[in-house]
């Protein structure tokens, strides 16, 4: 069956060809975009955290005691939390890894030619690196002299950078001993160490910079913000430690530990909406493919019924059943491919219009081809089901 004949047949059934093309175009666009959303969520979800979320608990201890001494409460908290069975270490912290909020802007130099970079500055004590389970790659860890305990007035003069941060700032040279500025017009701080990467926030992850972070040896106590801690626990003890933390604060009048969460819980909370959206679109896609399949069977049945005479003549002249089925499949495949090409175009246009798709690259279009293959396969099955029944009948029955 040559292409000229196929095109002639398509032209003859142009209305139905158009319906099939539209059906395939729309299904392809909806399913591919859903697939892309799922792919993006999967990519973000499966990004290596660099820490063990299941073994890290975050709490925000709040105080409403009249005249409370926040400095001594901080010391008490560190002491009491360390005593809980299963706890391996505690550090005060100002942000939650994986889910830090709005980023900080830092500078690589002073003056007009300075370059600014977005990152997250995590304030921790000298246990911070070990509690988070990060590896020291170069330089040294904070010591007790580096850590500045204050109501916010004291600024440390050293920091540690994540590997990604160091690469970003000092790609050409060794970062150790270099200086950076943590705010505009601030005093410079010296880089004393480089540690292994961990995901700092979803904000930077969405911008393709998930591992940018800075550790600063700083512990601030003040009334307005509750004091947050990160607690490292023995594997498998997160549940019991969370309960013990809640019980501990419940016994102290004027204190509350809020709701302790493991970083695995935090990650799930952060991803909940995205996973929900992905599931929603995948359900829609599955339904759409089923409906498209039913519609195709109906359409092709009708087309076959209008071509009974043609089928009968060809059968009478000795054409094999499989050959006739194959010709119908080929004919429909030409129509389907046109629909798929339009669908791909729609997919690219839609995915470039919305920020939901940020982070996808051109290579991901290969996954759209998977969707295209599935649609072609459904089309072929629909054609086979519809044509087979008619073709198998005797030519004489078809010609009556």
């Amino acid at each position: 069956m040559n292409l000229k004949h196929i095109l002639k047949m398509i032209k003859f059934h142009k209305f139905f060809a158009l319906v099939i093309i539209l059906q395939v175009t729309l299904s392809m666009s909806v399913v591919s975009n859903s697939f892309f959303l799922g792919l993006k969520v999967y990519k973000e979800w499966s990004l290596a955290e660099g820490i063990v979320p299941e073994e890290l608990i975050t709490i925000s201890a709040k105080t409403y005691q009249p005249g409370a001494n926040f400095q001594s409460l901080l010391t008490e908290d560190l002491d009491e939390l360390s005593k809980i069975k299963g706890v391996k270490g505690v550090t005060p912290i100002n942000l939650t890894p994986i889910a830090a909020g709005w980023p900080n802007t830092i500078y690589d130099s002073e003056g007009e030619n300075k370059t600014s970079l977005q990152t997250h500055i995590f304030n921790v004590d000298s246990n911070g690196l070990n509690v988070l389970g990060l590896k020291l790659i170069e330089g040294r860890n904070f010591n007790s002299i580096d850590v500045k305990y204050s109501d916010g007035s004291e600024q440390p003069n050293v920091v540690m950078l994540s590997e990604a941060m160091a690469e970003e700032l000092f790609s050409d040279s060794d970062a150790i001993g270099k200086t950076i500025w943590l705010a505009e017009d601030s005093s410079p701080v010296e880089v004393i160490g480089i540690y292994s990467n961990f995901i700092s926030s979803q904000f930077l992850a969405a911008k393709g910079m998930p591992y940018r972070s800075i550790l600063q040896p700083k512990v601030v106590w003040h009334r307005e913000n509750a004091q947050s801690y990160i607690i490292r626990v023995e594997p498998g003890t997160a549940g019991s430690v969370k309960n013990a933390i809640s019980d501990h604060y419940a016994q102290i009048v004027g204190r509350t530990g809020g709701r302790p969460d493991s970083l695995a819980d935090v990650k799930w909370q952060v991803f909940f909406e995205r996973v929900g959206t992905f599931l929603m679109y995948m359900t829609i896609s599955a339904l759409l493919l089923i409906i498209t399949f039913c519609g195709l069977i109906g359409l092709i049945n009708f087309i076959v019924s209008t071509r009974k005479g043609q089928i009968a003549t060809r059968r009478a002249l000795g054409a094999k059943v499989s050959r006739i089925i194959w010709e119908f499949i080929t004919e429909n495949m030409v129509i389907t491919v046109v629909g798929i090409l339009f669908g791909l175009l729609f997919t690219v246009v839609i995915s470039s219009m919305f920020r939901e798709f940020n982070g996808l690259v051109a290579a991901d279009l290969i996954y759209a081809l998977v969707v295209a293959v599935v649609i072609c396969l459904l089309n072929a099955i629909a054609v086979t089901i519809s044509v087979r029944k008619t073709v198998k009948r005797q030519p004489s029955e078809l010609l009556i």
Partner: protein
């Protein structure tokens, strides 16, 4: 005739249950998803307080220094200074009611040890806020003028918090503590929800305030101020918890101010009032820039917010494409359905039935299928919207109140009607070709074949 057509349609549908069920499913699912998408777009683009949103204005005075960049919309303009907030609210212009406020948060705790302390978010405001925003009261009322002026430690709480703290009983006269400060409840507001928290310009969804506090008390007690302080050349976060007196006398913009005019026609007059105020202040050395005020109606504020909301546009595009794909699939199913009627059409035509009558009957049949599909679609839409609401509720976080999201996912009569109407119309449109084809078959040839 219509009754007869409907009867015929029903009989025909029952004769081919599988094909008609497929049709209903295709239309129902398509309409269901589409209606859910357009409901989210429609509800998400509605403005709260629709009966006064064109005369409720966000008031901003441009007290910035000369070096500041010119701005053309409210989102880039600074909020009001305390000096201007107090002065504007005291201007003798009876056709305008002024309210203002800022956010604060504390640990809310009560004597009942069974109630865990929680971080409560409050809006610090004046008593006019409740009448301007049409807030209904379940118990008690707003604080009095005297309490407002004297800085009395009083609070108005929400029904949700009253349920949590006092099991829903009338709590007026009881006390709660905000951190270590005791305040007396003077009112409990009834269910009151907005789609977006426009009044504090956070535009948050699903997170309502827990309580409302009088501004004089909040300042005297030095409650935290969760605001952005635009202080000419810098932003100073230290005013969140300290330097109250300095802040109140400063040129820092940080308070959101709203004015409700009696009528939209009073706008020009109100602009003159503000201009006069700015000129007066300029004479005393303030307001170095030209111009002076920016008034943005709630309608305009929300139009700006809605334009930024691209999520809904995405839902709308996907929902529309989904429905179109379902409708085109329905064409195929419809063709198969009508193809099986060829013999029936030929016999009826041979017995003298007019083509016009047959077309009318088949269109009635399709309309019935479309209606059933539409009804199914409404149920699917209802379920989809509920799932979307749950998704948003869980993603908003621990402090969310699902009732705050009801308005954004409400399938109202307009949407139900629209869904069913689209189902019927689209069913008829897609069936025109199949119906015309089946009614145009050659009677003699088909009957001979039989």
């Amino acid at each position: 005739m219509l009754k007869y057509n409907m009867k015929m349609a029903w009989l025909s549908i029952r004769r081919r249950p599988v094909l008609n069920l497929l049709m209903v499913m295709a239309i129902g699912i398509g309409i269901g998803i589409f209606t859910a998408a357009i409901t989210m777009v429609y509800q998400g683009s509605q403005t709260d307080l629709p009966h006064k949103s064109d005369r409720l204005f966000l008031v901003q005075l441009d007290s910035r220094n000369l070096a500041s960049e010119p701005v053309d919309n409210f989102n880039k303009m600074i909020d009001m200074t305390y000096i201007d907030t107090v002065n504007v609210s005291q201007i003798d212009y009876p056709k305008s009611q002024i309210t203002f406020g800022w956010l604060t948060d504390q640990l809310v705790n009560v004597e009942n040890k069974n109630v865990m302390p929680y971080r409560g978010f409050s809006f610090v405001t004046n008593r006019a806020f409740f009448s301007i925003m049409d807030i209904p009261f379940l118990y008690g009322s707003a604080w009095s003028q005297e309490q407002e002026i004297s800085g009395a430690p009083v609070v108005v709480i929400t029904k949700a918090r009253n349920d949590l703290l006092f099991n829903g009983e009338n709590s007026v006269g009881k006390q709660i503590r905000l951190d270590d400060k005791a305040v007396t409840i003077v009112g409990v507001i009834d269910e009151w929800h907005v789609r977006y928290r426009f009044y504090d310009r956070t535009f948050m969804k699903g997170l309502s305030d827990d309580a409302y506090l009088p501004y004089r008390y909040a300042l005297d007690a030095n409650l935290s101020r969760n605001a952005r302080f635009e202080c000419w050349d810098n932003t100073s976060m230290r005013y969140q918890s300290s330097g109250t007196e300095e802040l109140l006398a400063s040129e820092c913009g940080w308070i959101t101010v709203w004015s409700l005019l009696d009528s939209k026609d009073d706008l020009a007059e109100f602009r003159n009032v503000l201009d006069d105020y700015v000129d007066g202040q300029r004479a005393s050395g303030r307001f170095p820039r030209e111009g002076g005020h920016l008034l943005t109606s709630l309608d305009e504020v929300m139009a700006y917010v809605h334009n930024k909301n691209v999520d809904y546009q995405f839902y709308f595009i996907i929902g529309s494409m989904f429905m179109a794909a379902c409708i085109f699939s329905a064409v195929g199913i419809m063709l198969a359905n009508f193809m099986s009627k060829t013999r029936e059409v030929c016999i009826r035509r041979a017995l003298g039935a007019k083509r016009k009558v047959l077309i009318g009957q088949y269109i009635s049949e399709v309309a019935v299928v479309g209606f059933i599909g539409g009804v199914l679609g409404i149920f699917i839409s209802f379920g989809s919207l509920h799932l979307m609401k749950l998704k948003m509720f869980h993603s908003v976080g621990f402090y969310a109140d699902i009732a705050d999201l009801d308005l954004l996912f409400k399938l109202d009569a307009v949407m139900v009607g629209t869904g069913i109407f689209i189902a019927i119309i689209s069913s008829i449109l897609v069936s025109i070709t199949p119906i015309l084809r089946v009614c145009q078959v050659k009677v003699s040839r088909n009957l001979t074949m039989e």
